[in-house]
Symmetry: C2
Subunit: 344 residues, 2 copies
DNA sequence: CTGAAAGCGCTTACAG
DNA sequence: CTGAAAGCGCTTACAG
């Protein structure tokens, strides 16, 4: 491969001049710039990434720490990864992807070795053992997910509490008086998946305020168990007229379960989920849902991270905690309950 | 961050000695090695990746070129990515993930800049415009997918032709005489997705040999269109007793379609798909299927790539084209057709 | 068994 | 506006 020295020689200038002509970091005469560019073009010059990183202390790479947890619904993960990857590329950064089960070790390694200029953490737990490592690192970090302690990092998440309220209030307003909320498995909470109880607690509160009976249940995150769970929940609460799903696997399984019970939504049961529109389309889920906005969250996290990397944010500028407002996407799966007094 | 110079000073040795003690590339006295290691530990020393890459011409990074095509079923993609990422990590490599729509440009950039020691291409088309770039690159490449021209690269793919034969022969042996094969959309073929016609052509041939009528159809890769497609195919061929699916979206949609038609498998219809076991579990698909083995293919590709990177394969050693034999995973969705003479 | 030195390919103050 | 030189942090022949 051609080096900057080859380019300089071919253009008849000093290496420094060639560098400045190419990077634009110093004014260069039009004529020299043209010669250098021409030479670079002809030689097929591309700067050596390692050498540049060594000289500038910048790699133009962002680390993406994902974890493929067996109790998470894997397909949902992909959308966050895509959002992060696409945005990074648009801003001139490549993505170093780590799915190491030992996220802590992987994070320490890629930051200490200066492979990355910054880091995005997915799947953030309430007590995330990667956070102490991140705070010690020289590079900034952005999270998708809401940990117990947000100091020193920028945080982006769906407003799960508002989501819980919106779900309940939407059905309460339609006249429903007994609902079931199906959450992720309880061990997701134990592992630190705070979004489960954030949504649930808010839903419970909203139910109390609105005079609605809310049955909260944990469902499996995998098939076919979640199908059996749904049957059991519906059997246990035959008077419930609405179903709230904070569990992607449950949403994916519901069409089959409703078929098996000869029920339709919203005819027999009103349904509101919490997942992305992309997810709804992929699995043809006909239920209204709170948009979880994975692409948008990924984009927000990368944008803020790049601002910090590039020093557009003053050092120790207040770190942000930004919640995306839940938007209820209407797919026609909710209606007043059967026999509701207010229905004509 | 501590540098190798800091470590050397703390251990009271030369930088070169510190380097050798840490890398093990030259014999070092036990005592010195212990001192150096101790110093490195105390200082929290991690080599600077850029500097090491510059000095060794090795980055210990593998490029992974994925493309999220709108007509491919995204969740299926994730499993290849996981297989590649996990294997790379086990072998000491990090993954630079590119999902750039301009795969050609991305590939050129990451190879020319020496960011990566080698490259894995997913979603390889028959005439893949990334291949000329890859052949020109200084780094080796491994493909998952089977291009028209395999020179200069190592190739790994499912044996789709054998898969087509196995599907047909399995049902023929059970006594079926009329089958429908639902493939990916036709534009996947036009884009160069050779696996579609490789499986289909082999199936057609096997059908002829076995005296079976085979209706070949292209189905949409997205919901809800694929559901309507399936209804149409079944309407058009009411005497077909078996359904072959080379289309993940079709497999995911089939449970609902069968419910709607009040059909069961294998009671009314025998079904054989082509997808991974992981996919079957995620979506609780109860159909026997040809295992597409994404994790295994990813693993094979990375292993061979690393062998080339590390020079364990003689330069210009014959490149390999390796097909994974299709394995039919029995999930009980096939049986002799209703009213078959041979049934007691 | 160990050390001093050169070199990998860039960038960037320092001079003019 | 341009150039000569130093330096980023490693590794690795070359000497001893």
């Amino acid at each position: 491969m051609a080096t900057i020295g080859d380019v300089a020689r071919a253009a008849g200038v000093a290496r420094s001049t060639a560098s400045y002509a190419l990077t634009g970091k110093r004014a260069v005469s039009d004529e020299v710039r043209a010669r250098v560019r021409q030479a670079a073009m002809e030689l097929g010059y591309t700067p050596n990434a390692g050498a540049r990183a060594l000289a500038t202390s910048r790699s133009n790479v962002i680390g993406l720490l994902a974890q493929f947890l067996p109790d998470e619904f894997a397909p949902a993960m992909l959308q966050y990864i895509q959002g992060v990857t696409d945005t990074a590329r648009d801003l001139g950064y490549d993505i170093l992807l780590s799915s190491d089960a030992d996220g802590r070790g992987a994070l320490k390694r890629i930051t200490d070795s200066r492979m990355v200029d910054g880091v995005v953490l997915l799947n953030v737990a309430e007590q995330d053992d990667r956070l102490p490592v991140l705070r010690d690192a020289a590079q900034p970090g952005a999270l998708v997910g809401f940990p117990g302690d947000c100091t020193g990092v920028d945080v982006f998440d769906l407003d799960f509490e508002e989501a819980g309220r919106v779900m309940v209030e939407h059905l309460a307003r339609l006249g429903h008086r007994e609902l079931i909320l199906v959450s992720q498995p309880e061990h997701v909470i134990e592992r630190g998946g705070a979004y489960v109880w954030r949504l649930q607690n808010a839903a419970v509160e909203a139910a109390a305020v609105n005079g609605v009976v809310l049955h909260t249940r944990y469902g499996s995150s995998s098939q076919p168990q979640i199908g059996r769970d749904l049957h059991a929940f519906l059997d246990a609460h035959p008077n419930a007229t609405g179903l709230l799903l904070n569990n992607e696997a449950a949403a994916a399984a519901l069409p089959t379960v409703l078929h098996e019970r000869h029920l339709t939504a919203p005819g027999d049961l009103s349904v509101v989920g919490r997942y992305s529109d992309e997810f709804a389309r992929t699995f043809s889920l006909p239920y209204s849902s709170i948009e979880s906005a994975p692409d948008r969250l990924g984009r927000m996290a990368v944008r803020q991270l790049v601002r910090r990397i590039e020093g557009q944010v003053p050092e120790n500028d207040p770190y942000v905690v930004r919640f995306v407002a839940p938007e209820l996407v209407d797919r026609g799966s909710t209606a007043p309950p059967l026999g509701d007094a207010r229905e004509p």
